[in-house]
């Protein structure tokens, strides 16, 4: 069981991500934010439970559905919003965009738009930590769709072989882009895919934030002691399409009662904030913060085009 302070902190993170993404969905319809936008509504609990236990010097890598991970890891929401709008005050000066967020100061070492391409990078950071003798850990988020890619197996094998302090966090939402997991693999649980490698792994309900928090905490304390790797599979629910604009002809609209069952915010609120207006206050504060972030981002200018050529090589 998590305590009340932790529950408030996790709820606050989830509401910040939820409000951010719902606002981004609106802004995408009027093309104020740019490019392919992949939202994690329904999966905020994973970002909150995992990143909420990490330090700035721990590394997090993510994929194309990365807003929540970046925000939960400490990236300022106003600068994430400015990045999505392509503004100079964005995290990456507007150059990276939604799928390529980086906030090195807070240990968010990067999102990547190539499914599974982030997996070996997390291993490299873990190797750097290990050789330097620190207790930092490296965490990589990926979806079940990445598991069928070759670099997943290469990375899992290498992580197990080198016993690196890396925690693989799979968000198994049952869909790889438009297609259900059943059409991509005969193995339903990612946990089972990695079984032969022999490292510790666990599958948890991705709507149950305290359960994820505790499972991740167990892996984290061992990883801090230099053990690894670990895999945490979170069974999540993707409330929206693969990307904003996806017509989702491949699935029925989620029944509202199913959504209520699987919404991690509703579940945590029911479990910890019964007859307590603290939850509503947390939601209001998050919404106000996101509105301020939108104003900040809108006020930020677009970058000078000369920056493009200057940013290709480090000097």
């Amino acid at each position: 069981m998590i305590n009340g302070d932790t529950a408030r902190r996790l709820l606050r993170t989830m509401w910040r991500v939820r409000c951010f993404e719902e606002r981004v969905a609106q802004l995408k319809r009027t093309l104020v934010v740019h490019g392919l936008i992949h939202l994690s509504i329904g999966g905020e609990g994973v970002a909150a439970a995992v990143c909420g236990q990490l330090r700035d010097d721990d590394a997090v890598y993510s994929g194309h559905r990365a807003h929540g991970h970046a925000i939960a890891k400490g990236a300022p929401v106003d600068r994430v919003m400015a990045e999505l709008m392509g503004r100079v005050d964005g995290l990456c000066q507007g150059i990276g965009g939604s799928m390529h967020l980086v906030d090195a100061e807070h240990g968010f070492m990067g999102a990547t738009g190539v499914v599974g391409g982030n997996l070996p990078l997390a291993l490299g950071t873990a190797l750097a930590h290990q050789l330097a003798g620190g207790d930092q850990v490296s965490v990589v988020f990926f979806g079940d769709g990445a598991v069928q890619a070759g670099h997943f197996y290469e990375t899992i094998n290498l992580a197990a072989l080198w016993r690196l302090p890396v925690i693989f966090v799979c968000e198994n939402n049952g869909f790889a882009e438009f297609t259900s997991r059943a059409e991509h693999s005969t193995i339903e649980r990612v946990n089972d895919v990695v079984a032969p490698y022999g490292f510790e792994r666990e599958t948890v309900n991705g709507s149950d934030v305290p359960a994820m928090y505790e499972a991740f905490a167990r892996f984290l304390s061992k990883a801090r002691a230099g053990e690894g790797p670990f895999l945490l599979e979170c069974l999540t629910y993707r409330r929206r399409g693969h990307y904003e604009g996806d017509q989702q002809k491949y699935r029925d609209a989620a029944a509202e009662d199913e959504w209520r069952e699987r919404d991690p915010i509703a579940r945590l609120t029911a479990g910890y904030f019964d007859q307590d207006d603290a939850a509503a206050e947390i939601e209001r504060e998050a919404a106000a913060e996101i509105e301020a972030a939108v104003r900040f981002a809108r006020d930020s200018p677009f970058p000078d085009p000369a920056i493009t050529a200057k940013m290709v090589y480090a000097t």
Partner: protein, 342 residues
């Protein structure tokens, strides 16, 4: 002080020196702790331990990705891809991750990574172990591409590559590995982006890469002896960044240019260099820029076939004569290396 050592020894000593000077330098790749098939990394595991000289599984993609992650987290990895043909398996990490991390992060990340690999034909290894794929890499902004033509340049350029804050693909040539040359000890760093003029001449400029540099020198001697033609020979040494100024200033003097490399001519780096040269020296050109490279076929194994496939001094001489005789008579168009027609 300088020793006459092989290309392999020059790379080996430079790696060892870099690892001694900087604890952040690590070496990883298939069989590197055993020295690898050409012994380039021989002895490193013994001196620096298997933590810093890491054998990897045959997983080029993940190994490159590990190196990218390690590089953006403070290490200076030197990865070996045993044959450049296998770089195909690591291209996602090189093209989508390494090349773009600095850019996409708005300058927050940098990737001081060296990918050492070797290419080229001549050892009857066939179509999947003999290619010259460097042009692909030059097409990706964010990567640097180095192609040394001898032991001394290999040592000096590798020093600079390891010190560089960007991902550098260091393309060695297997046919040059056991050539000996005097190499200063310690080797001086040779800055990336500085061409070397090996021979001065007033009649024609021969720009040659890697193995073809020696062929260009032989061709120049033959042209001088047989035709009285004085060829200038330039080795750009690095394709990205490219020292266009040195090459273009030579071509403005000679009015004629030959570009020679072992890669397939069509779409090879010579095509890009020819385009840049004609823009930089159009008014000075007396003849079309001639390209010497391999024909538009994969590399065959059978010795007479591979020997016929490989461009060398004879092709450079022929290209130079074509350029020198241009306009004097109706020269037969030379379609060596033309892209396949449908």
């Amino acid at each position: 002080m300088s020793d006459e050592i092989t290309f392999v020894e020059a790379v080996n000593r430079t790696l060892a020196r870099a690892m001694r000077e900087d604890a952040r330098v690590i070496v990883l790749g298939e069989d590197v702790a055993e020295g690898g098939p050409y012994l380039v990394t021989a002895g490193l595991a013994e001196e620096f331990g298997r933590e810093r000289v890491r054998n990897t599984p045959i997983s080029e993609g993940a190994v490159c990705g590990v190196a990218v992650g390690a590089a953006q987290s403070g290490l200076r990895p030197v990865v070996e891809i045993m044959f450049i043909d296998f770089i195909t398996l690591a291209l996602d990490q090189l093209v989508n991750q390494a090349a773009k991390a600095h850019f996409m992060s708005g300058g927050q990340l940098s990737v001081p990574l060296v990918v050492r690999t070797q290419g080229g034909s001549g050892q009857r290894n066939g179509a999947q172990h003999s290619q010259s794929l460097e042009a692909w890499l030059t097409h990706v902004p964010g990567l640097k591409v180095v192609m040394p033509s001898g032991a001394a340049d290999a040592a000096g350029l590798l020093r600079s590559a390891i010190a560089d804050p960007n991902p550098v693909v260091f393309v060695e040539c297997k046919a040059l590995y056991f050539r000996r040359e005097r190499v200063p000890d310690p080797p001086e760093a040779i800055p990336l982006g500085r061409a070397r003029t090996l021979r001065e001449g007033r009649d024609v400029t021969i720009v040659a890469l890697s193995r073809l540099v020696e062929d260009a020198m032989q061709a120049a001697e033959r042209l001088a002896a047989d035709d009285g033609i004085e060829a200038e020979v330039i080795d750009p040494r690095t394709l990205v960044p490219l020292d266009l100024a040195t090459v273009a200033s030579s071509v403005r003097r000679t009015g004629r240019a030959i570009i020679a490399h072992e890669a397939v001519t069509a779409g090879g780096f010579g095509s890009e260099l020819a385009a840049q040269l004609q823009a930089a020296a159009f008014d000075y050109l007396e003849a079309p820029i001639q390209r010497v490279g391999a024909p538009y076929t994969p590399v065959p194994v059978s010795p007479p076939l591979e020997d016929a496939y490989r461009p060398g001094a004879a092709e450079i001489v022929r290209a130079a004569r074509t350029a020198l005789e241009w306009g004097e008579y109706d020269a037969e168009p030379w379609d060596h290396g033309a892209i396949a027609a449908s």
